[in-house]
């Protein structure tokens, strides 16, 4: 594959998974090497390390009761960070519950992501110029909304794109099909990611669908679909960058399936992966680790070292410490505030409830 031919992919799914760096950090597809400077390459890797550290710290903070909901991301750094790295902050992101790393890289202050995790509304108060919505919980809902944001972008004559994420399980929802079909029908500038980590909680990918690839679902919507090695940040970046250029040029939406894996449990709310997968399988995937191969590639290139990584990890840990401190200093929520946010034009019944709760709250 020399150049990604999106026009061709509309009718024919790619039969070979796109990859650039193999497990040992060797370039196996020079033709598709992205045009990234050394600084950009190290920045991409630094964000992946950031995400890995954030995953580990979030897990610990959750165990200590300092964070609430958390969906582990380790193993998915190439897919999450590699894709987001090809976007601009003018693009509009519609993430799912596992896509907090992309959302923060897109501009959400980390302490707000932590507030969201802890179940505090201040985590979801976004400034007007932040092109994002909070992580979606309802599987598939973000896909249909992405078609809408993308159509809005098109009507507003912007040169940006809307992008969204779901998982392998998410492709079974009606909303998934409706979203890609609507975006196709309106030729709207949207990029749909399917992060195929092999499981929807406990249900293996093979049980979701008889389709051999999830990317091929794009064909029915008349839009290009491409399957990418989701443990390879350069492959994910290349596919996304090419897709973004193509989509932003007015050619309609693209669907990208990344083949990846989550090392941890589905979430930290009681999932026990031993019930549905073997540790040998986890080991197999860890050999494909996205950080190992990228680190090897950068080190061989002479632009990264373990010392540098250590310094960076310390800095990330400091950022996390500061963010969690700030999170813990935010005032508790009030029912009267929820009531005030329920309507813009507050009806009399709600006004009465606001008065009653305000009186209680000042007790």
């Amino acid at each position: 594959m020399k150049k990604i031919d999106f026009e061709q992919l509309k009718s024919t799914p790619n039969t070979e998974t796109l990859s650039i760096l193999d497990e040992s950090g060797q370039v196996v597809n020079q033709d598709l090497m992205p045009d990234l400077s050394d600084e950009e390459l190290t920045e991409l890797f630094k964000q992946m390390v950031w995400s890995r550290v954030l995953n580990e710290r979030s897990t610990k903070l959750n165990r200590q009761g300092r964070l609430g909901f958390f969906a582990p991301t380790s193993g998915e750094e190439a897919s999450q960070i590699g894709s987001n790295f090809a976007m601009t902050t003018d693009d509009f992101i519609l993430p799912a519950y596992r896509d907090v790393p992309q959302l923060v890289q897109h501009g959400l202050p980390l302490y707000q992501a932590f507030l969201w995790s802890r179940g505090h509304v201040d985590g979801n108060k976004y400034p007007d110029n932040f092109n994002a919505v909070p992580p979606q919980i309802i599987i598939g809902a973000q896909y249909v909304q992405t078609a809408g944001v993308a159509l809005g972008i098109k009507k507003n004559d912007k040169k940006t794109v809307a992008y969204t994420y779901t998982g392998d399980g998410g492709t079974s929802q009606g909303d998934f099909y409706e979203g890609i079909n609507f975006a196709g029908a309106f030729q709207a500038p949207a990029i749909f990611f399917v992060q195929n980590n092999g499981y929807a909680i406990s249900v293996p990918r093979e049980k979701q669908t008889a389709a051999p690839a999830l990317s091929q679902k794009a064909v029915a919507a008349g839009i290009p679909g491409i399957q990418v090695d989701g443990m390879d940040a350069l492959a994910v970046y290349t596919a996304t960058k090419a897709a973004r250029d193509w989509v932003a040029a007015g050619n309609g939406p693209v669907l990208i399936e990344t083949l990846t894996y989550r090392y941890g449990p589905h979430t930290l709310s009681g999932d026990d992966p031993k019930r549905y997968r073997t540790s040998a399988e986890v080991d197999d995937w860890q050999r494909k680790d996205p950080l190992i191969r990228m680190r090897k590639y950068l080190t061989d290139k002479g632009i990264w070292s373990t010392d540098q990584e250590k310094v960076w990890e310390d800095e990330v840990n400091k950022q996390i410490d500061e963010a969690i401190k700030k999170t813990e200093s935010i005032a508790p929520q009030k029912v009267s505030d929820f009531l005030k946010n329920t309507f813009i034009d507050t009806p009399p019944t709600i006004k009465a409830e606001i008065d009653a709760y305000t009186a209680k709250e000042s007790d």
């Binding site: 009606g174 249900v203 329920t342």
Partner: protein, 325 residues
């Protein structure tokens, strides 16, 4: 007899119904090997085989559409919706299709489907998982909405629901799954549908509730008794259609009623209970009907659950206000 938590009583009940009737099928997201996210179907696939207990693709509308199709082929489906907060995904299959089949086909087809789902709040789930959306379905003709308040009732009501030829939405309060245990007979038994239950007798005031709020009402009744107020606690068990007789008899006896629901106030099930009392027992009332419910906002973020959810103190306060009216 063994003491079981509500979730274990439900698992045992499902197992018995699967064995009792070969047409019973249990399915949903993660119900197979994983045994459900709350472990309500734990071990059922190993025990009964993948033919009877199986995972579906991830789509709630698909799950209940499958249930309806299977019912048309003579099966007795027991689908699970992983969290009732996701019911909006499948409102058409439940409220638009399954519940109307008897009506649409002039009584020539039945829909013996029991849709199970965890609901309610107070266990710090992420956004959009916890909610009390039962009112949406209580307003739907052709559906029974059944909500147990503890392990014993859960197993017996589940058996009755599965054996019923009408569709049932069976809601399991998440906070009740593991909060206490009750003696559960090994053998299968039923608890009747359409029948409320007096969980505690009293002469001064009636507390009507269902689900987890029954437990809060019982706690409130204990506290009120210490102050000389004898509260009767009525557990609706089937919230739609309502057992009017039990409600009216209790109110006639006590002359006072406080209606307790975890759901938001507007258009809740207790609005219907208030209407029944007003229509059929108003002359027995010695004071206005009192209501305890959640404020009219969407379900709150998890850190604010405690200040948002009604609790025993709210019930005590309201009960005293009504008694001293």
């Amino acid at each position: 007899m063994a003491k079981l938590s509500m979730v274990k009583a439900i698992t045992q009940g499902l197992d018995e119904e699967i064995k009792r009737d070969e047409k019973v099928l249990v399915f949903g997201e993660d119900v197979g090997r994983n045994g459900g996210v709350f472990r309500a179907t734990d071990g059922l696939q190993d025990e009964n085989g993948e033919d009877r207990v199986f995972d579906t693709p991830l789509a709630e509308s698909g799950i209940n559409g499958l249930a309806m199709g299977l019912a048309l082929e003579g099966f007795r489906p027991v689908p699970e919706i992983q969290f009732f907060g996701f019911v909006f995904e499948t409102m058409d299959e439940i409220a638009g299709q399954i519940s109307r089949t008897g009506h649409r086909m002039g009584g020539s087809r039945k829909m013996p489907i029991t849709i199970r789902a965890p609901f309610g709040g107070g266990v710090h789930t992420p956004e959009l998982h916890a909610d009390s959306l039962e009112g949406l379905l209580a307003q739907t003709p052709g559906l029974r909405v059944v909500i147990p308040s503890g392990p014993y009732d859960a197993k017996g009501l589940l058996a009755s629901s599965i054996r019923s030829d009408d569709p049932v939405v069976f809601l399991e309060h998440m906070k009740l799954y593991r909060s206490f245990k009750e003696e559960i007979p090994e053998d299968s038994y039923t608890v009747p549908l359409d029948k409320a239950d007096v969980k505690r007798e009293g002469k001064d005031i009636t507390l009507v509730s269902y689900g987890y709020m029954v437990q809060e009402s019982l706690k409130a009744a204990d506290a009120l008794a210490k102050e000389g107020i004898e509260a009767e606690v009525v557990d609706l068990r089937t919230i739609s259609p309502l057992d009017e007789e039990t409600i009216i008899n209790s109110v006639k006896k006590t002359g006072r009623a406080v209606l307790v629901q975890e759901a938001q106030n507007q258009a809740g099930v207790m609005g219907q209970v208030a209407s029944i009392i007003a229509e059929k027992a108003i002359l027995s009332l010695e004071s206005p009907i009192g209501r305890v419910s959640a404020p009219d906002t969407p379900y709150p973020f998890s850190q604010a659950e405690e200040i948002w959810l009604p609790n025993k103190d709210d019930i005590i306060e309201k009960a005293k206000e009504i008694v001293n009216y």
